[in-house]
Amino acid sequence: MITTTVVGSYPKPPRTDQPGATNEFELRRVLRALEKGEVTPEDLRQAQDRLVAEVISEQEQAGVDVVTDGHVRWNDLVTPFAGHMAGIELSGLLRYFANNVYYRRPVCVGPVEWRGPASIDAWCYADSVATKPVKAVIPGPLTIARLSLDDHYSSHEKFVLALARVLAQEAFELEAVGARIIQIDEPALLDAPEDLPLAKRALEVVVAELKLSEVVLATYFADAKRLGAELFDMPAHVFHLDFVSGPENEELISLMPPESKLQAGVVDARNTLLESTSHVGALVHGLLEAMGPERLSLSPSAGLEFLPRDKARLKLERLIQIAGKAGE
């Protein structure tokens, strides 16, 4: 049987096939009320807790083997971590890669420093309500740096390595509370192959103190062809590649060293069209031949929050069908 997982985010609106579903769902209402000072941060935390439990149960019911909290508490992957560090402020909205989705650009205004964990409580809560293993997801230092404006370090390298030291602390704490799978997302690497040596040094810093965890390095939204075999020199046990936006990634498989594993993004997380089982089956069959069932897991191409909730659930069900067929 082939293992299945998700990349991270999950839609926050309710399923429309549930009674009483409207545009005005609980989390949205509570966030708005918090802005007006009508509810407390504790009310928000409880609303988020409820949605995390719901989203995890939805993944588990679909049959996903390794789940996430759906990033329900976050607006994107970068700002909850960057915004939590000393030395960084959040500024105006910018487009998140080539998606019609926006994030607040971090601006580095002073030395970047650890100011306590950014994701530990969230991971612990998710772990407490899940029956399946919960993957911890953090942004990579290169991706934070490339989505930010640096007004402090005069060198890109110094900025990236400073971010890496803070993320190392986060990763260490995640392992300490029990996370055994830590995924580090570096989508920005695909637009910046020249930064690969720096990204490698930075990732070495991030994972330096980890002893037990399986480290997943995730790239998505494009193919990693320009990175070539050197991508697999990065200190990770598992590599997530997006085979939907980057079909050329198939050419990279033969370059993977025998000890590394592949998390293959085979179901489109950014378009609602439900792919046919047979079409994706052919791709998965090829991956399975090359990797063997022990070294292959399947997932959507990226975080599922680009989709409406109903479609995200259908995508997960399709993913499980594809994995089931391939495992026969």
Binding site: P13, N75, R95, A98, Y103, L273, L307
Partner: protein
């Protein structure tokens, strides 16, 4: 190339497109979505708000008027609701706590009726100044929609381009002398820039009017000077929110079209002082003559309050008057 037949020596004032909805209209839209009022009642208020915005633009002597898009939710959904082949899909998040219903192509996209012409005629009937025809570009409509039909971005974009061309021709036939086709998504994927150009060619080739496109900041430095290949007469750009840094690119590669010069940041509550706008216009005048410049806010003003938007437009007019006196 179609020039600008407006009175005066240049530095014409205009707006990019959207203007804020007055609170009574925002409330009515919410009630309409809860089925508490009907379409006719909502439309009455949309007409009223449009009338108020035209009257405001008349009052500050705006040279090239917009209808303010009081009847649109967002620029893509509005067309998706009207064009066969596109449907309004499920709720997705844009940023923060903001959500929108993202359109989906479920069949071949075409056009079976005019979408904007009645609104344009209504707005034009309220002013002696020309009113811009306002369309969303095909690349942006497709980039901001799901695709369950085409499986090819190019085929999708070219079909939508034909639909938007038909709309543009109807606007022209109704008397529009200025037609703007917005492509805010154009600078997101440089590898598809030739598709943006190909689609725009379909729309503007048969037109005999002054054509405009508005492009948001995005990867401007990658897109310039290539964006000069987009077959339109005028490109409207955000200048204020980058402190006019884009003008440096024009020194290296001269800007060869009419320029819509954005001098007010639409994402900020802060009202730019007249002097700052004057300075921005003067900097642009070092690179382009006055009769190639139109002065406006950076982008649509719909996220500001009515008061903030009016204050920004009023200051733009004051700044233009000061610089015009120096010409």
């Amino acid at each position: 190339m179609f020039g600008i037949d407006l009175p005066g020596a240049g530095l014409w004032t205009t707006s990019v497109g959207s203007l804020p909805k007055p609170p009574y209209l925002t409330r009515a839209r919410a009630r309409y979505s809860r089925h508490e009022i009907g379409r006719a009642e909502l439309k009455e208020l949309e007409l009223q708000a449009t009338k108020e915005w035209i009257e405001f633009q008349n009052s500050i002597d705006t040279d090239l008027v917009v209808d303010g898009e009081q009847y649109r939710g967002d620029m893509v959904a509005f067309f998706a609701e009207e064009l066969p082949g596109l449907e309004i899909g499920g709720l997705v998040r844009a940023y923060g706590n903001r959500y929108y219903r993202k359109p989906v192509a479920t069949g071949p996209v075409g056009r079976d009726h005019a979408v904007t012409v009645k609104w344009w005629k209504f707005a034009q009937s309220l002013t002696d100044k020309p009113v811009k025809g306002m369309l969303t570009g095909p690349y942006t409509i497709c980039d901001w929609s799901f695709d369950e039909h085409y499986g090819s971005r190019r085929a999708f974009v070219l079909d939508v381009a034909a639909a938007i061309r038909d709309e543009a021709l109807d606007l022209e036939a109704a008397g529009a002398r200025f037609i703007q086709i917005d492509e805010p998504a154009a600078s997101t994927r440089m590898d598809e820039f030739s598709l943006v150009i190909e689609a725009m060619e379909i729309i503007t080739a048969p037109l005999r009017t002054h054509t405009i496109t508005h492009i948001c900041y995005g990867a401007f430095h990658d897109a310039y000077p290539r964006m000069l290949d987009i077959p339109v007469d005028q490109i409207d750009l955000e200048l204020a929110n980058s402190d006019y840094s884009l003008l440096q690119s024009f020194q290296e590669h001269p800007f060869t079209k009419y320029l819509g010069l954005g001098v007010a940041d639409v994402h900020s509550h802060v009202l730019e002082p007249v002097e700052t706008m004057v300075e921005g216009i003067r900097r642009a005048l070092k690179l382009l003559p006055a009769d190639r410049l139109l002065i406006d806010p950076d982008c649509g003003l719909k996220t500001r309050t009515v008061k903030e938007a009016q204050a920004k437009l009023t200051n733009i007019k004051k700044a233009v008057d000061i610089v015009r006196a120096e010409l």
